[in-house]
Subunit: 323 residues, 3 copies
Amino acid sequence: MLNPQLNSQGELIHLLTTEGLPKRILNQILDRAAEYIAAGDAGTRKFNALAGRSVFNLFFENSTRTRTTFEIAAKRLSADVTSLNIQASSTAKGETLLDTIQNLEAMGADMFVVRHAQSGAPYLIAEHAKPGIAVVNAGDGRHAHPTQALLDMYTIRHYKGDFTQLRVAIVGDILHSRVARSDIHALSTLGCPEIRVIAPKTLLPVGIESLGVHVYHDMAAGLKDVDVVIMLRVQNERMSGAFLPSTQEFFKYYGLTPEKLAHAHPDAIVMHPGPMNRGVEIDSAVADGDRAVILPQVTFGIAVRMAVMAIVSENQRGQGAQA
Amino acid sequence: MLNPQLNSQGELIHLLTTEGLPKRILNQILDRAAEYIAAGDAGTRKFNALAGRSVFNLFFENSTRTRTTFEIAAKRLSADVTSLNIQASSTAKGETLLDTIQNLEAMGADMFVVRHAQSGAPYLIAEHAKPGIAVVNAGDGRHAHPTQALLDMYTIRHYKGDFTQLRVAIVGDILHSRVARSDIHALSTLGCPEIRVIAPKTLLPVGIESLGVHVYHDMAAGLKDVDVVIMLRVQNERMSGAFLPSTQEFFKYYGLTPEKLAHAHPDAIVMHPGPMNRGVEIDSAVADGDRAVILPQVTFGIAVRMAVMAIVSENQRGQGAQA
Amino acid sequence: MLNPQLNSQGELIHLLTTEGLPKRILNQILDRAAEYIAAGDAGTRKFNALAGRSVFNLFFENSTRTRTTFEIAAKRLSADVTSLNIQASSTAKGETLLDTIQNLEAMGADMFVVRHAQSGAPYLIAEHAKPGIAVVNAGDGRHAHPTQALLDMYTIRHYKGDFTQLRVAIVGDILHSRVARSDIHALSTLGCPEIRVIAPKTLLPVGIESLGVHVYHDMAAGLKDVDVVIMLRVQNERMSGAFLPSTQEFFKYYGLTPEKLAHAHPDAIVMHPGPMNRGVEIDSAVADGDRAVILPQVTFGIAVRMAVMAIVSENQRGQGAQA
C-alpha cells in the first residue's frame, strides 16, 4: 500500500501519522524546526512560507491549547488562518464532512489542520482533498497525534542528542493515548533501542508488545536507568469506574514523584504533553523540578508545527526541491 | 425615493439589495470579481484594496459559512477583520442596535457586514452610519441576500455568457427565501427573459407573479427546456407541520433527481446556495453530477464578495473614479 | 514596596493600576495616544510597534466590547493577536492559572491583556511573568480598570486642557466600580483639585473619603458647577434587592437628565464608559445631547490602548530610550 502522506518522489505532502514515516522525513522536520528555533533566538519571528495561503483549523473536538499552537505557528508563517469549531457549523445543518471540506476547498483553502474524535478522519479528508491541499492531523481519536510526537522527538534530540543509546519510558494511560502510539512509532524509526511502557493492566491495549515495547506494571522497575520519562495525561473521566479506582490510588502507584524518579538515570528528563493534572499523574515537585522539560516542549512545539506546515505546503506546490 | 445604496454620482456605497440596482453596477461587480478570479488563477491571492481598513462582521444570526466567506474575502483584501457574534455581546446588556453601531464606528470601523434575522436591519444601519462607512447586507430576514444573488449571476454569466436568451427556474421554498427574491431582481435587471419559480402552493408568497415570474407547481413542466436550475435549501424546521407534510413527500415531488433534471435543456447547469440537504431538495446523483456547478459557486462567491467590498470602500472614500 | 509596573529606570513595563502611577507616565501615555489620533486623522492607521509580537487577550470574564478594543488596537500596531475565552480552555481541565500563563509564555507570548473577575489576578500574572513579557490589566474585579481611566483622562484633557482648575463628579454605583477607583487615582495624580462622588449610601464604599473625594448623595448639590460628569454603568443585577429598590427609583434620584445636568457648569462634558443603560443611569436626551462626549471616548480608547501596548512593549525590550 502506498503511504498517503508522501508523493511519488517520497516527499511529505500530508502529516497524518508517525507510523511508517521514513527517518529522513522525521529528521527533515526536526532540522527545519531547529532553524526556526535558531532564527527566533536571533530575533526573527515572522516568515513568509505561507504568505497568501489560507489555513483552516478544523476542530471537530475542542482543544483550545492545540488549536492555539497551530494558529500561532500559521500566523508566524504569514498565513491567513481561519479556525472553525465544527460543532457550531454546517454539520449541525446536516451537511456531511466531505461537503464541508469541498466547500472550504472551493473557498481557496490550502491546508486543513484537523482534530477529530474519530480515528481516521484526517485520512478520509486527505484521500478526498484536491491536489495541492495539505492535511495535518492535530489528533484523531485514539489513533495518532503526530505533531505531539514530533515535538517530543525534537525535545529528546535537543537534550540527549542521539536516539540510539536511549532508554525511554512512557507512563500512564497507554490505552487511550494517541500520543503514546505516535511516540512509539517515531522512537522506533529514529533507532531508540529500548522503549518501555508503564501502566496498570486496565490502561494497556491488548498486544502492545507487538510494537516492540517492553511492558512494566511497576514504576520502580520500569523507570530503572531510563534516560527519558514521558508522562501521559490521565483523563478525569477515566478515573471513576471501570478503568481506575481513584485519583489517589493512581497517584500512589503511577504518579511521578521525586522518589519514583530517583530510579531513573540521574540525567533523565521528564516530559508531559500538557495540560498536567498535578497530584494525579505528576507531583508538582517533579513538574516544577530541574529535570522537567515540559515548558521547552511547548516552545519546540510551535517550531515543529511551523516546520510541518512549511514543508507540506512547499511539497504540495512542487517546491520541495528548491526549498 | 433615493436609492440608499448609491451616492449622488450613482456609485455603489452600500450593498443592501439587488432590487433596483442598475445593470451597470451589477456588471461592474461581476467584472471586478472576474479580475480577482483571473488574478487568483495566475497565482496572486492578496490585494491591498482594504489595507489598514477595519471590517466588522456583525452576525446577529449565526452562519459560520457566510461569515467565513466574508472573513476570507476581507483578509485577501488585507483588511483587519473582527467578527462579532452579537447575541454574546453588548445587546445582551441592554444596549440598542444603534448604540452598538455607533460604538464600533467610534472604534474606527470602515465597513459593516451585517446578517440579521430581521428584514431591513442593514438599511437601518446604513441610514444611520456616518459618511465613509459602508454597509454590506449578508442576509436579512426573508428580504434579501444580495451577495448570494451576485455570485449566482456570476456563475450563470460564467457558464452561459448571455442572460438575454436564458430560461431560469428557481425551485423550492420560495416563500422563506431571501435568495430567491434577490436572484429574481438581479435576473430581471440583467435581461433574463424567462424566470420561473417551482414550488408547492404553501411555499409560494402571495402575489409572486407581480415580480414577472412564471409560477409552476410541477417539476416536469417547470423544468422543461430551462438553461439554469437554482435549487433552494429547505429549512428542516419547515418540514413538519403547516408548510410541508414530510421530507420524503417533498423529495418525491420537488427533489431534483436525474429523472426530473432530464426535462431541462441538455446543457442546463444546477446551482444551490448550500449547505445542501441531500435527499431532501437534491439527490446526490445530481449534486455530485457533471451539471452541478455548486462548488464553483463557492469559489466565485469569494471573488464576488471581494469585489463588493473593494468597490463600496473605494466609493466611500471618493476613489471610485480612479479605481 | 516597589511599584511592580515600573522597571528600575522608572519606565512602565506593565499597566496594572493607575494608583501610584507617576504623573510623567500618565502624560507619556496621553501624549503617545495623541500622536496616534493625529496620525489617524492624517490617514495613517497601521503602525509597526508590535510587528512580529504575539499578544494574548486572556478574558476570564466575558466582555466583547473591551476585548474588541484591545484586538483592534493590537492589530493596528501589527501584532499577531490571539483571544482566549479562558472558561472554555484548559482551566476547565484542571490546569492552574499559572500553568496556563507559563504555557502561553512558552508559545512565545510577548504580552498578556487580562480581564479577570478576581481583583489582583493581573498582579499575580505580572509577578510570575518571565522578563520581557508585559501584562496589561483590562479590568480586575472591583479593583482597577486603568485603560478606561486613561481614556477618561485623555477625553478630559482633550476637552478641558488643564486638570488643575477642574471640578469632576463621578456618579452612580461607586461601590462596585473599578472605573471609579481608577479615575479617582488618575485625577488626583494629574492635579484635579476637586473630585466628587455622587451616589446613594448603599452604593458607596466605606472610607471613600480617604481617597480625597467629596461625597454627595444629592445630584443638584453634587453637580453644582462641575466641569466634568462621569456617569457609571449600573449593573442590572444590583437593581433588585439589597442595593437598590428599582430602576425607576434610581433614575428618579440619580439618572442624568437635562434638568439635573443644568446644575453643572454650562460647558460641562458628560462621559460614560458604556454600554449605557438608557433610562436607568442616563436619559437619552443627555446621552445623545451636545454635551455628551461618550463616542469620542471610544475613539480615544483605541488610541490610548495602542499607546499603552506600544510603550510597555518598548520598555520590556529595553527600547524605551530610543523610542
